[in-house]
């Protein structure tokens, strides 16, 4: 039962109103304008006045254009035929492939019952030491990459996508630059991963509102594949664009903004998406890695701020590196106890020493005298940055741990590292000239605040 209306009452921003009856909340409509067809979604019902957000934007809409209600909310196809395919923000093919209409599923479905969730326990290896060693990624984790624009976050995403041990990849582009879209395609193709990937791409030149559906489309499809036993990695870039689209609609609807123009429900909106990350007991999983660009490198900006309150940690990408400070995987302790016995010790020990290096660097910048210890720290910092932090380093976890010991041995005597004696005996490289101390002194150096 599809109803057609020919009288548009108002056009404000990307929202139109029509007089109609029997329309359901969040129902879809199709608008035919001189520019072609566009989908629109019901966002408010007031008596017989229906407000719709038009995905293709309102440019060129005439008041006598045809609005046809489709009788269902937003849906997306779901099948193995989607693998290797590229869709747009309305779920239509963006590649030359055929239109898929089989097995339509609803998007933005209900939440997982918390009582059915399990404690995450499977690590995702990425071969990036700053992740694997220091902030392990875990199946079912939701984690954003906080970054200023200009940082190689999409390169990082693509690399993780290629190297992560998952069954499939769903990439959601929101306001993605065209060249970045092409880049993802090329990298995944060259890496032979395209056939296990699905793209939902909304580019910077597409109408803003159309980007709003991308996370829901990706996650609905991911959830279905997960229920069929697949481990799915969902990549979303860039969620700040998603939040900005929400903001635009909210302002058009004359909602009172809460913080820098963003709507008061920004937290709930973001959480509804991120909370789709899950490990289904007895089936597959959904893991979410998202990019959140920080306007003005300001982590207190509403988008990164609300995101941080929702996700399970964050990776800070700065100067082309994943910063050890501020970056956090809140789930790492669930997995790093069962990798290798020195994993946690290397993780903590190396970061503590790196913190001391940072202090020394500051002292040096202020012109204070450098002691022998300071000089050791400076050497250590440089080595750590070049041979572990650098994003080009691409080695498995175990090799990264070995390399960690190597760096320590090149810079310090065993007792200076504050590592447990048992571990030192087992892992300290034998080839270095460092003389084993008779009695390692158990004195940790003070870490001061600030």
């Amino acid at each position: 039962m599809q109803k057609v209306y020919n009288k548009i009452l108002s056009v404000t921003g990307n929202v139109i109103t029509v007089k109609a009856s029997g329309v359901a909340y969040e129902e879809l409509a199709e608008i035919t304008t001189q520019r072609g067809k566009s989908l629109a979604q019901v966002i408010k019902l007031d008596g017989d006045i229906v407000s719709l957000q038009v995905f293709a934007g309102s440019q060129g809409i005439a008041t006598n254009d045809e609005v046809r209600f489709l009788g269902h909310p937003m849906q997306v196809t779901f099948s193995d035929n989607m693998l290797g395919r590229i869709f747009n923000g309305s779920g239509e093919p963006r590649d030359k492939g055929s239109h898929l209409t089989e097995n339509l599923i609803q998007i933005a479905g209900p939440s997982v019952n918390p009582a059915k969730r399990i404690i995450p326990r499977r690590m995702v290896r990425t071969n990036i030491p700053m992740i694997d060693v220091f902030n392990s990624l875990v199946i079912s984790q939701k984690l954003p990459i906080f970054s200023v624009s200009g940082e190689p976050y999409n390169e990082l995403l693509a690399r993780i996508a290629l190297q992560a041990e998952v069954d499939m990849i769903i990439l959601g582009g929101i306001g993605l630059k065209y060249d970045q879209y092409m880049y993802f395609r090329q990298v995944l193709e060259e890496g032979g991963a395209l056939s296990r990937s699905i793209f939902f791409i909304h580019t910077a030149s597409d109408p803003i509102v159309e980007g709003l559906m991308v996370p829901d489309l990706c996650l609905a499809v991911a959830e279905r594949f997960a229920l069929k036993g697949r481990d799915v990695l969902v990549l979303l870039t860039d969620m700040t664009n998603f939040a900005d689209a929400l903001k635009e609609i909210a302002i058009t609807m004359e909602q009172v903004p809460s913080n820098r123009g963003y709507p008061g429900d920004l937290y709930s909106q973001l959480a509804a998406r991120y909370e789709k990350a899950v490990d289904f007991e007895g089936a597959g999983s959904v893991t979410i890695l998202a990019v959140t660009t920080m306007p003005g490198d300001d982590v207190t900006h509403p988008v990164p701020d609300n995101t941080g309150y929702i996700t399970e940690g964050q990776f800070y990408l700065r100067n082309g590196r994943i910063e050890p400070f501020g970056s956090l995987s809140r789930l790492k302790q669930q997995v790093n106890k069962s990798t290798r016995e020195d994993h946690r010790a290397i993780m903590d020990g190396m970061i503590q020493l790196y913190a001391q290096f940072k202090e020394t660097e500051e002292k040096r910048a202020m012109g204070f005298r450098m002691s022998t210890w300071d000089k050791k720290l400076l050497k250590y910092g440089a080595l750590f940055e070049s041979s572990l932090m650098d994003l080009h380093v691409n080695i498995p976890l175990e090799e990264a741990l070995d390399r960690g010991w190597q760096i320590l041995a090149e810079c310090f005597t065993p007792e200076e590292t504050g590592m447990k004696s048992e571990l030192i005996q087992k892992f300290w490289p034998k080839s270095t000239t460092a003389t084993p101390a008779a009695q390692p002194e158990v004195v940790a150096s003070p870490v001061s605040e600030g």
Binding site: S21, G22, V23, A24, Y25, E26, K44, L45, D46, G47, P73, A108, P110, S111, V112, N113, P114, A115, K116, R117, I118, I119, P120, S140, L227, V256, S258, N259, G264, D265, Y267, S268, A271, A272, E275, K276, F280, T300, P302, D305, G308, Y309, I310, E312, F325, G326, L328, R330, L331, K363, F368, V442, V443, A444, S445, P446, V447, S448, E449, G450
Partner: protein, 579 residues
Amino acid sequence: MKKNGTIIGINGNMITVACESDIIQNEVGYAITGEERLKAEVIKIRGNLAFMQVFESTKGLRVGDSVEFTGKMLSVRLGPGLLGMVYDGLQNPLHLLAEEYGFFLKRGAQMEPLDSKRLWKFTPRAKAGDIIEAGSLLGTVNEGIFEHQIFAPFYLRTTYTLKDIVAAGDYTVADTIAHAVNERGEELQLSMNFEWPVKIPITAYREKLVPTEPLVTQTRIIDTFFPIAKGGTYCIPGPFGAGKTVLQQVTSRFAEADVVIIAACGERAGEVVETLREFPELTDPRTGKSLMDRTIIICNTSSMPVAAREASVYTAATLGEYYRQMGLNVLLLADSTSRWAQAMREVSGRLEEIPGEEAFPAYLESRIAQFYERAGIVELADGHKGSLTIGGTVSPAGGNFEEPVTQSTLKVVGAFHGLSRDRANARRFPSIHPLDSWSKYQSFIDPQLIADARTLLFKGNEIHQMMLVVGEEGTSLDDFQTYLKSEFLDAVYLQQNSFDPIDGATSPERQKYVFKRVHDVLMSAFVFTDKDDARHFFNKLRQAFIDWNYIDMTNEKFKKQEKIINAMIEEKSSDAKSL
């Protein structure tokens, strides 16, 4: 008589309903769409229009759909069998929903909060002919670790005479256990459960007292420096990742409360899962039973319907007040009250109310105050005392405490545990800021000792700030010693390894004992040759103290380690030198 209305507008989770009959504020109604019945609550009335918040997604609702009003306010069911349960914000048992519907929550699904088949061994405590009123004791049943008291419903408005009451035996919560009649001849059928509207405080007690007795959390920085009291209130504001949830999890485990209610309000589902999966495995040292036996979880996580999130804190408070009526000490932990405030903000926006700061409604402050007012220690009709303590986390936007929710909360609570981003980054946990936080309650530790320690912390901080400018070289040895002492206090006492079974939970006896030793160190005038000597000494002393923290107090090693520490202190103190 059934009242019906018709939907005339839908905006997010708000519906506008036209209804020809009378409407009650906070009345529950069901919006009907196909097979589904979506629970909703009246939150504003104008003429014959009811504005209702729907506790579910409104997707697919239409103008013209009907709404069935119930005539009852949003309520929870009170009775034996609440302990150990995991509910959503509207008291639907999540485990049962999972059994019925699988992985996903089902829109419109409702289930009985109390198991209506389970038999309870009832012992009557009243007899035919007794005069009863709201809150009178009718009998008791054993609910795991407690004697659960069965009350005459709190909503009774007059006194009644008991006509009959069943003999001791096994009954379900649904069975009738007594009949009563009042002067007007109105008859009453009583069972072991009744409903109570969540937004109305339960006041069936004699009087509310002033909270004075400490509620022990076994977290040192809290109990010693910023204590909470039985029946008191406190808040934990902090930026994301500062440690609010971990702190509450630790408290829910180790606090010396009889019943702990965890309200996971608009936060991550994953965090609740940890509690949910671990608590049944952990034993409560106080009872020897599983920790879950003293716990109720109200779980309305961030992707669950927003309106139900708003209801969830009230649901939690009502259950807390109910157990308080039994003379128990109840601790309610809400994480996070900001999400609750945001839920109010969303609703207020849809009602097109005039917004206050950051678009929060003007009544934000009074709602927060009313919520914390539900805490309290009370004298019950039988002379016993019961308490409800409320602790809420606050998640301020941008980590800035100068925002409406934090500020409104600070006005009403008795203690403030402010978490610091810097301390969390430096992995100094629990990251409660030792200089900014405060408490109006009394600790079990001698106030003079605490005052000394705080003075030293302030001084140490000043010296540290100075040192950042002039370097160590420009600092006197005396000042340097003060600084090292403050760092020592921080490292061995304020910081605590929450995940260690010994260090993570420090009993009051141990706190008194250890704090005395720490205080001795702070007050001693040590003699050092130079700064390296001082640093070296404090490094060693710190390590020795931390090792001490990890030894069970009843273990003989505890005394041994203390001797080592004493020897270290003696060697460097001025008296020793003068000998």
